[in-house]
Structures are given as C-alpha cells and as structure tokens.
C-alpha cells in the first residue's frame, strides 16, 4: 500500500487540463522566445561595447595626435621602420619598360600603365631614380620620404614617395621579407642635377584604399 503522501500525489491524475489549451496553442506563441529575449538583452550590451570601443579609439587617436611623440596623421607612418629604400639617380625608363614595370608591380592594364607612364617627352621632364626597397618585416605599404642632393651636397628637394606604379590607389605593396628593385620618377617638376638621395621609410598604417 502506498504511503499517504503518495496517495495524495496520485489524486493529481484526476485533474484534467482546460479544454481550450490546444486552441490557445494554435494561436501562436504569446511571449517572446528565449532567442528573442536573449537578443533583446544582448543588443544593449553590443551597443555599449561599440560605444566603449569608439570612445577608446577616439582617445587613442587624440593621444597619438596631441600626445608627446605623436605624429600628425598626414605623416601616416606609425609602426617602427623595417623598410629601407636605397636610391640613386637613373635614366628615364623607356615606354615599354615603364609599362612592363607598372603591369608587373601594379597589375595595371596596358592602357592604365601607358597613362601613368606618360609620353616620352613628358617622362624626360622628371627626375628619375633607381631604387631598391627592402622590407625586413611583415608585408606592408611603405611610406617613404626622400631628399635629393646636388654635387655640392645641397639639398635640392624633399619628396614623399607614393610609388604609384605599384597600384592605384594604395601604391606599392612591400611583401614580407622581400626586396623590390625598380625605377620611377619623383613627383613634381624636374630639379637641377641630383647626384644622390637619402630616404627613410616606415609602414603606412592607413593606405588610401
């Protein structure tokens, strides 16, 4: 024989659910599901996380901009330089050589390469250089600044180099642990005879993409 508590519990079996339950079920859920409720709970957290990230990024940017040792974004490079550029004056590339180089490095079409290589007479108006770009770090877009000197050791100009032949709009990409040899011209009009160059490079963290 069952104990009294079991006997009482068995009385539950006499109970029947109300008759309208199935009809109520077929009308569809009335409460938000767990996924929807979770989503409702999650959204504010996501928004808060995004806001915090945005504030942190803004603070980081401000510190970089105004803080000691900070540099202006226009100077682009931020990371330690692992890229070197050795330059020397060179003769202008021929049209075919120029096009081949642009096709090789920048994956330009023949027409696109012809546009950036310009006609012969225009190419002669520029200062051409031959360069070896060496990257001892991970792959990166280089940001280089060059200074040209004449035979008297006088600086005749400073240039930011974009290596346009390397692809538009980002410029040349320096693969990791590699070096590239190329000839290209300085932006702007030709200066008087340049006999040597110095150049410094760093990583352009914000290439124009």
């Amino acid at each position: 024989m069952p104990e009294r508590w079991q006997h009482e519990l068995r009385k539950l079996k006499a109970l029947e659910p109300p008759s309208g339950l199935w009809h109520q079920a077929t009308q569809g859920p009335r409460r938000p599901g767990r996924e929807r409720a979770r989503a409702r709970r999650t959204w504010p957290a996501i928004v808060a996380a995004l806001a915090i990230t945005a504030v942190a990024a803004a603070a980081f940017g401000l510190v970089n901009f105004f803080g000691p040792g900070g540099t202006h974004p226009a100077a682009a490079p931020r990371r330690p330089a692992q890229i070197t550029l050795q330059m020397r004056p060179a003769m202008p590339l021929t049209m075919s050589g120029c096009v081949a180089q642009a096709e090789h490095y920048g994956r330009y079409t023949a027409n696109g390469a012809a546009r950036i290589c310009a006609p012969d007479r225009q190419r002669n108006r520029w200062n051409w250089y031959h360069a070896v770009l060496t990257n001892k770090g991970p792959g990166a877009y280089p940001a280089c600044q060059a200074t040209g000197f004449d035979a008297h050791g006088t600086a005749v100009g400073h240039w930011q180099l974009f290596f346009q032949f390397g692809g538009a709009p980002t410029g040349l990409y320096a693969k990791r642990n590699s070096s590239a040899s190329f000839s290209w011209y300085l932006p702007g009009p030709k200066r008087r005879a340049i006999v040597r160059y110095t150049a410094t490079c760093s990583v352009n963290s914000h290439p124009a993409v």
């Binding site: 104990e3 009294r4 508590w5 006997h7 079996k13 659910p17 109300p18 569809g28």
Partner: protein, 172 residues
C-alpha cells in the same frame, strides 16, 4: 508518459513529420498535471506554460527531434519564469498577497504541502511520481545530475511525509 515517449522516440529521423495534435492528445494531460503540481496548484500558470510550449513547438516543429522531452523542458522553464516573476511582483507589492491556486477539488492538503517544497524538489517529485519518469530521465528534464535528483527526491519525500503523513493507506 512511457507510452507517449515510445510513440515519439528521442531521435526522430530528419524530415519526419510529427502530428502535434496527436502529441497534444497523448502528452498534454500529463504535462499539464506535472506543471500544475510543479507550480503548487497555480492553474493559470500551468495553462499558460503548456499552451505556450505547444505553440512554440508548432512554430519550430522541424527543429525538434524529441517533441515530448522538448515540451516538458519548455513548459518547466516557462512555469519557472512565471513563478520567479510572481515572486518578484509579490516582493515589490509586499502585501503578502498570494496568487489564487485555483480550484483544488480533492487536493486540499496536497497543494499547500507542495508549496512547502522547493521548486527543484517539486519538479523531481512530480516528474518521478506523477509523470512516472525514471530518475535518469528526470535528471535530463531538469538539466541536472542523477545524484542531485536523488537528493531532491529524498528531501521532497521526507518533507511530504512530514506534511501529509507516512502511514500506509488503501489506494482503492
């Protein structure tokens, strides 16, 4: 319950169409009674939890492999949410107002006794003794270990004996 589970095996093959109206006819009475006991006689909560569980099952029928187990889990969760919300509401009102337990014909002593048990003890007791589930399945339904279910059953039985009596009675 065992028969119902036999009809709707744990691992239904993909694409198998389940007749939820038939599931309702077979499983809803037992499920409703279980939830009714779990909520300590809150008929409205039991009605709502069972109807809502079936409504959700109908909505995502193709994703459910074990309909009866899924319905039990869902109804228990919904009822537990209601109980918690009700408790919060009562605390906020601080008026000592008790929700009406609904009609308890013939259950005059059982419902107050169930209220003296913890929700986990109630769940274990009703699943094991009312729904006739083995301890292993009770643990699965409650999302806990077999050892924990045994503890809940032991304490629940002990408390019910204290409240309702342990003497043997004629079941006829």
């Amino acid at each position: 319950m065992a028969d119902v589970r036999g009809k709707y095996p744990d691992r239904a093959p993909p694409g198998r169409v389940v007749d939820y109206e038939q599931v309702f006819r077979d499983a809803a009475p037992g499920l409703w009674r279980t939830i009714y006991a779990f909520t300590a006689g809150q008929r409205g909560v039991a009605d709502d939890a069972v109807a809502e569980a079936f409504a959700r099952a109908l909505e995502r029928a193709e994703q459910i492999r074990d309909p009866v187990a899924w319905l039990y889990r869902t109804a228990f969760r919904l009822a537990a949410e209601d109980i918690r919300a009700d408790r919060r509401e009562r605390r906020e009102q601080a008026s000592g107002h008790q929700q009406s337990a609904g009609p308890t014909v013939g259950l005059g002593s059982l419902v107050p006794a169930l209220k003296q048990l913890s929700p986990a003890q109630r769940a274990a007791i009703v699943l094991h003794y009312e729904a006739d589930l083995p301890v292993r399945d009770v643990a699965r339904q409650m999302g806990t270990s077999i050892a924990a279910v045994k503890v809940h059953l032991f304490r629940g039985r002990h408390r019910l004996r204290e409240l309702l009596g342990a003497e043997e009675v004629d079941d006829a």
